[in-house]
Amino acid sequence: MSDMNAQISSAVSGLTRELDIIANNLANISTVGYKRKCNTFSKILSAQESQQNSAGEAELKSAFDFSDGNFIQSGRTLDLALCGKGFFVVETAEGPLYTRNGSFDLNKNGQLVDSQGRTVAGANGPITIPQGISVSQINVASDGSITAGENIIGKLKIVDFKDKENELTAAGLNCYSAPKEVQPGKPENVIVKQGYLEGSNVQMVEELVDMIMVSRLYEANMKFLSVGSENTKSLINVAMG
């Protein structure tokens, strides 16, 4: 009996955490460059329950889904979207961070920065737009090289983690950080699109379906628990005469 209670309790805590993940995905449905977290716990759990093989504790995987989001045309010169696998790099005091949010700006010195004011890395150091050149004259080619008028100013640093993508951790503010042992490599088949932003890849319907599933599984587990406690009660009654 206590064994069953332990199983239910682990299922319930897993489902609660999955609701948290779904809530975060849905909260970020309009966040540029956001990648949804997969929520597989309830699927594993329901598969187990249908097979009558209630191992109880299913592994809660929360890997990122790095598929591309929708591309939204914004028309801003400094809005850049990455089409294909890859990340922009922003420099911070704690080392480089990786992001898919290409909504950039210039600071007062003309350096390319993200919306938090962190410097965007270029292939050869930070990218500075010379004085006297206005933002509307900046042109970003599909390989990330930046020209203003006729002068080449620099090239965006774009990296890729290939199969190591899931070792990235979310650092918040649209950025990912990589553990020390994971080194980014050169991207393949990635295209920079100027004047576009990459929308979040959260699919509302999918998340809603998962949410209903979590809700129902939670309810079912609670029913088990109440049936369990009823059984215990009657067992005790029988034993005590």
Binding site: T16, L19, N24, A27, K37, I129, A170, M211
Partner: protein
């Protein structure tokens, strides 16, 4: 309590902000020189329950970690400085800037502000002023007895009097390294900030500045369809976040029912 509640609440307030910004864009769809804003959202910090690469059993490392995010916030509202459509008004004091640059406006306290709204008027003493009555910088005064005023593409203000046509001044434009960093002060005015950098001034048509189009006004760059799509998206996203709260609430109600059996 469930973390999902506060996460969904951040989502709802973010969408509310999106509706606010969209509402302001739509309200200014006919405002001359208005530039639309867009909101840039950011995910909040993550609670790490297990690091990626942590050892789960001897020699086996977890391929991915367990981290749960705590919602979303608005990171920035950016002004989009694309050019609006130029509309022929036929009024000789209406000017539009075709290309880059802002008109400079002197405030009563002497500070300079910037605008793209070129519906100029004549002040009581013949000065060129904005619709609100602020002086254009550099100050240009039209002499009494002028029969015609025309503004050239390079900003030169020509006045015809009985004694012929003379140039009485040139409109100068200002430009910023980071126009998104300008702060909006209402009345179609913008002012410089730490983030925008200081203004570089110049003559229209030179050094990459736009040219002056007389008898034209620049409409706002708000596209009704885009804003309506944003509005619908924001509304639905708000709704779906409230559903999360509902689902969390159902789960809690379930647990409470069990506890009270």
């Amino acid at each position: 309590m469930l973390r999902a509640f506060s996460t969904a609440a951040t989502g709802m307030s973010a969408q509310q902000m999106m509706v606010d910004v969209t509402a302001n864009n739509l309200a200014n769809i006919n405002t001359s020189g208005f530039k639309r804003s867009q909101v840039d959202f950011q995910d909040l910090l993550y609670i790490k329950m297990r690091e990626a690469g942590a050892e789960v059993s001897s020699g086996i490392k977890a391929p991915s970690g367990i981290e749960v995010g705590s919602g979303v916030r608005a990171g920035a509202t950016q002004k989009v400085f694309t050019n609006g459509e130029l509309i022929n008004t036929g009024r000789n004091l209406d000017i539009a800037i075709s290309g880059d640059g802002f008109l400079q406006v002197t405030m009563p306290d002497g500070t300079i502000k910037y605008t793209r709204d070129g519906a100029l008027q004549l002040g009581p003493d013949g000065q060129l002023v904005t619709t609100t009555g602020y002086l254009i910088e550099p100050a240009i005064t039209v002499p009494t007895g002028a029969t015609n005023i025309s503004i050239a593409p390079d900003g030169g203000v020509n006045v015809t009097t009985n004694s012929g046509t003379t140039i009485i001044g040139t409109i100068q434009l200002a430009r910023f390294t980071n126009p998104s960093g300008l702060s909006s002060d209402g009345d179609n005015l913008l002012s410089d900030t730490e983030a925008s950098g200081t203004a570089t001034t110049g003559t229209p048509g030179a050094d990459g500045f736009g040219t002056i189009q007389a008898s034209f006004l620049e409409k706002s760059n708000v596209q009704m369809v885009t804003e309506l799509v944003n509005l619908i998206t924001a509304q639905r996203a708000y709704e779906v976040n409230s559903r999360t709260i509902k689902a969390g609430d159902d789960m809690l109600r379930n647990s409470i029912q069990i506890a009270s059996v």
